[in-house]
Symmetry: C4
Subunit: 290 residues, 4 copies
């Protein structure tokens, strides 16, 4: 008898839907954050040499592609409490599932942050030169590997606008991609989600660094609290850490419903009149007589 994945399936498969979906969100978010923070670590720890800005964008893009692909046939691959919230407002996720998804995403993200920390421990130590001194601010600060801090020019309201806009874009385009009336093959969904995030990095990246995901920002911040101390919650303002939590939740709901209000609900069904304003058959009939 050979021990194969099929055998494992027969022995260990989780048949409870809530259980396996929560496991999937946990695992997918763990991958997303482990990989995503490692991309940022490579950018920061090499002084923006190995990994420049375009690597961040392309890397996070494909990070989304493969982390979502890995679990999308279980939980749908939200990996983001703001997206789960949007699905709840669409009536596609029960309240109990929403809570379970969020908890699973936070746990996965926390573990992902820890995994990045231990993978890049040597490099973080080397980056600090001299005696080890984990700092949130300063020339050898590395806390920005884990969670986002605003650019110095940014006001609080500007930060909210940035996070709402970025996550709205994510939700809007995600809804366009999965809307059956747009006929995007389902095997292309994860790839296109990734490219949306790549695009957001080129569009709304300079103010805050596009967290656009409460679990991506808050859970690693909690992890970094154990390494860097209280300042991760107080720099540069005491309530800063709420921006990448509240902003994305608002943005996702706004963006998702905007898609439907301005485009999705107006798309004709198959068999209804096409978009062309000129009747093509009539046109051909005319020309045929030439």
């Amino acid at each position: 008898m050979v021990f194969t994945p099929d055998l494992l399936r027969r022995k260990c498969r989780i048949r409870n839907k809530l259980g396996r979906n929560s496991l999937a969100e946990f695992f997918g978010t763990f991958l997303l954050i482990y990989i995503g923070l490692s991309i940022v670590a490579q950018y920061l720890l090499t002084h923006e040499r190995v990994n420049v800005w375009i690597n961040i964008n392309v890397g996070w893009g494909f990070n989304i592609v493969f982390s979502v692909l890995t679990v999308q046939n279980l939980s749908g691959g939200h990996l983001n409490p703001a997206i789960s919230l949007l699905m709840y407002t669409f009536g596609e996720l029960e309240l109990l599932h929403l809570f379970a998804y969020c908890v699973a995403q936070m746990l996965g993200a926390f573990l992902g942050a820890a995994a990045t920390y231990y993978t890049y421990l040597d490099a973080i130590n080397a980056y600090e030169k001299g005696p080890l001194n984990r700092t949130v601010v300063g020339a050898t600060a590395t806390a920005a590997i884990f969670s986002t801090y605003p650019a110095s020019h940014l006001s609080m309201s500007g930060a909210y606008v940035d996070q709402i806009a970025g996550t709205a874009m994510l939700a809007l385009f995600a809804c366009a991609i999965i809307d059956k009336r747009n006929k995007v093959p389902s095997c292309a969904h994860a790839v296109l989600f990734g490219f949306v995030v790549l695009l957001i990095g080129c569009t709304f990246g300079m103010n805050v660094g596009y967290p656009i995901n409460p679990a991506r920002d808050l859970a690693p911040r909690i992890f970094s609290y154990f390494i860097y101390g209280r300042q991760v919650f107080t720099h540069p303002y005491p309530s800063w850490f709420l921006v990448p939590v509240i902003g994305p939740c608002v943005g996702a709901v706004v963006g998702g419903w905007m898609y439907h209000a301005f485009s999705g609900i107006h798309i004709p069904d198959e068999g209804e009149d096409k978009y062309q304003a000129v009747d093509q058959d009539e046109l051909k009939a005319k020309n045929a007589g030439v």
Copy 2:
């Protein structure tokens, strides 16, 4: 009763074709310009550090992909008066629709420019250091976020050639993509349109910055008039602003018809003789005797 997008559809769907198509062009162009100008803002306001030239190209590419995808099953996703004009010359858009599309595109682009301005307001202020001073020319000029100004080496005729060539390329390849005889699956159209624009940015970007779309250039310029004053229409020449309006219209018509004249109309229909010059069956028969 749960309030879902399907319910919204039953209540609020626009059944008038001209109305919903105009809404789609308005919304799609709003997205295109909001995102597109934000990409440029991030390039300019970080002194070409976060967003280098390749980010502009890749960002605008995926901007096209998703803005078109969002509305293409309604209005066709032109988002560009020059493309609408080409479709009119092909007999695929009625004159009334052409006007409605152009108006909707201009309105969407104007609003998109405003949205970029308010999203990047903090960063624009910081970029100007010292007392606020919105300028079109000079070390802290930011008007180029909104509309294009020619490189200093460029003559007026060179600028027209550049804009005609760039938009001709866009129209030519767009026609190749949508030509049914080329059998590109329709779900890939938006993605390929985006890659065409990515390519144009690598090809005809250094002279003017590839506006290749009258709405993308003129509407934000009108918006920037309210912020930067009259100079947006007079720098560097009084008639400069007409180049990215007239050039693209000429270019789109030239390029679209060139595709058909040199390639599209000569492609054999299914069942007609294939392209291979050697008869493959005959060849196989010969070899079978070896």
Copy 3:
């Protein structure tokens, strides 16, 4: 009566296969060279700022994608005499067609070079600062926009190896893509050809600049002779210009046949035994008994 592309088709369609295929190769190669040289112009004339090396690679990649897509359903979209030669050795192109294709490709490439020259005339003049002085060598030399010159470290034999290797890779992977036994959908062919060329630019670009196409190098060199004088044929050695002509022809034939010898001819047909070394049904039967 409306004048549409369909009407043009009925009036002007070329029904002679050799005629329309030659037109297609002419037109496709014109596009390829106009766009391709413009990409290089933007790299060189901005001192490698707008367009860095990755833009060259990505730009040429999508240049291939769309130039091939535009004409591939007519002539097959070779756009390269070396590829046409390979197809001839495969028995898929008659000798008369091979000659016609090569002539058409050379004419298209010549015209493409001229189009780039006039599009970038202002920028070339500005690049030379001071009195106009077209040169092949020196600080303001621009002849490298049109055809390739070897890096100073390169020996003649090293140059031949480089060109043979680069074009062999192109032909080898192109054959893998179009081999029906690899089941790549035909709508993806042009895109994958482009990515092969992108890859070659990252692999064999630093020695000569990956011309890997006799028409791409020789025809623009002939055009540049009229602008820059005899030196385009004598720098740095009198016979240099033959390397990107002979090397690609040898490389394409070597690479194309290598694919078939080492992989293609051994692939089992549909219905024959699969690649897995373990009998899967037997395995399942075993496990089912657990």
Copy 4:
């Protein structure tokens, strides 16, 4: 009679499965290493100017795409002993085949290293300026073209973590891609494998340079022994060369089984309950009554 690939097939086709699969692994790995090391050579020998880090990532990505595509319908296109080992643990490769694959991969990689060396010989000589002096360490060292050496900050345990993590990611996502329950079309497999490797380069590239493949590292190291001497096996520690051999084998098995344990085995079969937590039909029935 024309000599065509079909004729070659009838004459020379290898009908022994082990034979042709080993040939395929040999040929595919030869291509992978020849191209892959050439990408690194272009990066190193131009002092990171022609080829920056993103070119390494994109280049290696498409290198995987096309090298795998070329042979995947024969041997499955592992091109990596660690992946073959994983397939063995899945019961999809017999022990005899595992050995044959590994030997073929090592031979192909050795030959690929030699091919890179001779292709870039002129450039390597030029890079060393002055009298030729092949070195593993120092300002003109070029041994890193062939195999990887750790960044100076890295501890031995950190290096193992890095290689296990990187290869686990490769195996995990590869399993997600080929899992039939994820319904990724088989024609997209090779492309997605390439993007996974692109992602790994953005994620785990700064410590060791992501070899994640014993054949990719060890075989070129053996080749470089003949050029650079013993130091290739002793720098910076005597047992360093084992890290990119043992690490990937452990990582591939860990990652592949993690995919199945945390996601794959729990995915419902077609026809079983869908992932949505809310019953969609019930929801529609409710809304229909509005």
